[in-house]
């Protein structure tokens, strides 16, 4: 009997690991698709994949986080302003769930800031006051929660990079912020294979552009 229980127990452990395996495999499969698309439709399709995982694994924050991330990227690829807002609404609602599952996570607040940045870009003249401040607030919190996370500075720098010089932005202002981010990227070790680990390539692209001009 004892033996049998042992067998049963080990079996349960194995099936659990199998399940975790299945989760990681599915997550990785979706993550690997991220680089293959640039279109809103493509990002929505990957978001759909993450959403299926999220709804089956209701206690994990990462799938929700990635659904949100995909919809944010979809908003950047979308051309119709009204549709951008619809994507960002969806991104925001999924990130709220992620935040409730994993409180005070630097990556989550980075993404909250990124969504605010994206909202602002839909209609900068009317929205900078509200969403500019909101992005700022979230990035500041993200840095505070994890000083090693390179992504808040990457996004702050990106914002500055695309802001006209007259408004206190431009490549010169962005450079030190982006360099700080690169420094952090060099030291950054993601928590797992499926933990957030994006941004480096774009960052290097921007720095290259700045250095070429400078």
């Amino acid at each position: 009997m004892k033996l049998f229980l042992c067998v049963l127990f080990s079996f349960l452990v194995i099936s659990n690991t199998l399940a975790d395996d299945k989760y990681e495999k599915a997550m990785k499969k979706n993550l690997s698709k991220m680089d293959t698309t640039n279109s809103a439709e493509g990002f929505v399709e990957i978001a759909n994949g993450f959403e299926r995982i999220a709804l089956a694994e209701k206690d994990k924050w990462l799938p929700y986080y990635y659904v949100s991330f995909c919809y944010t990227l979809a908003s950047y690829s979308e051309k119709v302003n009204a549709a951008k807002d619809v994507f960002l609404d969806k991104a925001f609602s999924f990130l709220k769930i992620s935040d409730s599952l994993q409180a005070d996570n630097s990556e989550v607040y980075t993404l909250f800031g990124m969504i605010a940045q994206a909202r602002m870009q839909v209609d900068p003249m009317n929205r900078w006051m509200k969403y500019g401040a909101e992005a700022d607030k979230n990035f500041t919190k993200a840095v505070k929660l994890d000083t090693l996370n390179p992504r808040p500075e990457y996004l702050i720098g990106t914002g500055l990079f695309y802001t006209p010089e007259q408004f206190g932005g431009g490549p010169v202002t962005a450079k030190p912020v982006l360099e700080k981010s690169l420094d952090k990227f060099n030291k950054f070790v993601p928590a797992s294979d499926i933990a957030p680990n994006w941004g480096r390539k774009n960052l290097e692209g921007m720095l290259e552009q700045i250095n070429k001009k400078g």
Binding site: S15, L18, K22, R52, W128, F167
Partner: protein, 711 residues
Amino acid sequence: MKLLFTLFISLLCSVSILSQTKISGTIKDKSNQPLPGANIFIKDSYDGVSSSVDGTFTFTSEEEGEAILVASFVGYKTFEQKLLLDGKPQTVDIVLEEETTELGAVTVSAGSFEASDEKKAVILRPLDIVTTGADADIYSTLETLPGAQQIGESEGLFVRGGSAAESKTIVDEMIVQKPFYTGVPDVPSRGRFSPFLFKGTIFSTGGYSAQYGQALSSVLILKTQDMPTQTVSSINLMALGFGGSHTQVWDNSSLSAEAGYYNLDPYFQIQKQRVDWVKAPESFEGSMNFRYKTSETGMLKAFTSYSYGDLSLNVENLDQPDLRDFFRMKGGNYFLNTNYREIFDQDWVFFSGYSFSYDFDDMDIAPNRIKLRETLNTGKVTITRNVSSNLFLTGGGEVQNIIYQDVFNELEGKLNEVYLAGFLESDIIITNDIALRLGVRGERSKLLDKINVAPRISLAYRLGTFDQLNFAYGQFYQTPAKDFLMWTRDFDFEKATHYIVNYQYIGTGRTFRIEAYYKDYSQLAKGNVFTHPYFNLPDVEFNNGGKGYAKGIDIFWKDNETFRYGYYWLSYTYLDTKREYLNYPTLAAPPFSTPHTFSAVFKYWLNDITTNVGITYSFATGRPYFNPNNPVFLGDKAKNYHNLSLNFSYITSIFNNFTVVFFSIDNVIGYNNVYGYRYSSDGTKKSPVLAPALRTAFIGMFISLGQTNPF
């Protein structure tokens, strides 16, 4: 043991025997259009797929037995269906129903222009208000919308044949007794509130909700900002004065304070004025704004302000050309508005508010001395219940206590009015395409000792994703002006009935609206009052027999699409109105009305010089004026009105502080507008009513300390 063994075996089986079921089908919307990119999956599993461009999908699931197939797509209601997964291929054809999202949803909107940063499908943004016209005043922006008249010589909104007294301003659900600084004859005064205070504005030109009363023509509903997001200080330097503000933000609360001092004297030295100022307007104002987040969904707001002003001038006396009448006005206003809003159990919204205002004006109109005192206490409670996703009920009540004290030399008049109102309103979404708002409002005035019951109905019918038809009907009541009630209280409420038909298209970049209306006035107060405007006319006894009508067409077009860095709007108003009230001997078109009004507003962002340019052109046909020599009452018409104004907002930074330099000129072309004429008592001499200066210019600089850039 046997049991455990069975359990073990069955557990094993469930893992090892993996049968697969193929599920395929199509996904479309109600009009049979395929929906590409929808998410179709088996609930609580990873199995699923996104639909392809033609709306088809195919996937296999390793689940077994009873399962739920889910289909979801942005903007549509989630679809669920039970399936039995037994290895046999299955075909499912899914039709998704549209969710009532903001864009393309049917909304009750007859007679209203909304500026909001919360809602996506609105006609105007709050910024539109700040950057229109020459003076960044809420009210002068509203004059560029159809339905409102271009009135250059006095303050107030004149909407669809209604006088200024028929339009009311509502801040956070409560009526504001004095939304303007007290005016001087022939000089319009500004609105009391800065456009920056508000996150949303609804300008209703008719047929509005049962939640509001005491306005025969129009209500302007202003919603104040919620919690500010950052601590910031600013300095404002203007040719007319200076001011500063500070906002402090804590975790759950914020406090802003603002103060300003204005003196028009230096400006008047440079810019020649037609008005003979003895003392140019000098004023002080200060305000405080407190926000406290009581919970995730609850908010307490308090706003208080104080203003004081002093001015004097000499006014031409037509009866004695060698004499000029001295006029002095000093006065002030104290205002408090505090309110609390909370959502309970997701479906109950509770609002309560209290507002107090005290207004004092002391006038010397040689040789007369006039003192006006006005105190208003008002409270309002509203409860909204979200009964289902298709039915909202709103009910509530308000009470107002208004005390007027007028002193005219030794004569003193005092009125103490208690006004009570209750309302009930339901918003019903009958189908995805039809929305109905049914409301009723009951009011009681203590002074009149009368009650009224006013029904209101609005209907919206959606024709397509972006366009809809709207209808509205409503009865509106208003207590006659205090000038009548000082003499006798033998009056009933004044009444207007509105009928409105409207077609509107709100696409992603372009908006078109056309609205036709008919307004029937009855029970208007008649009689000679202190302010009666027309002399040489037979006396009229006090009575409630005034009447009139207004009918017309309003057209509005806004285009955000054509210009990459700019947009424009055009509005046209046709108005046919006549009324008999005050001491009018007959039905006549009132002096604040004209048949044709046109406005064009164009805004452009010049990226290279980081400057926003706004151009506003307004045109109106000449308005009627009273000529005692003309046997036809109000039979003369002034010449047509033209105005072109420009404004520039240059955005820069000064010592790393974000700065906006604002410059504007009113009446650039220098067109000499004549609003009407004033006559001497014997009718032999006349003098034109003109703007205080041919052109006006404004320059100011607004510096946000410590904020380097807006992004």
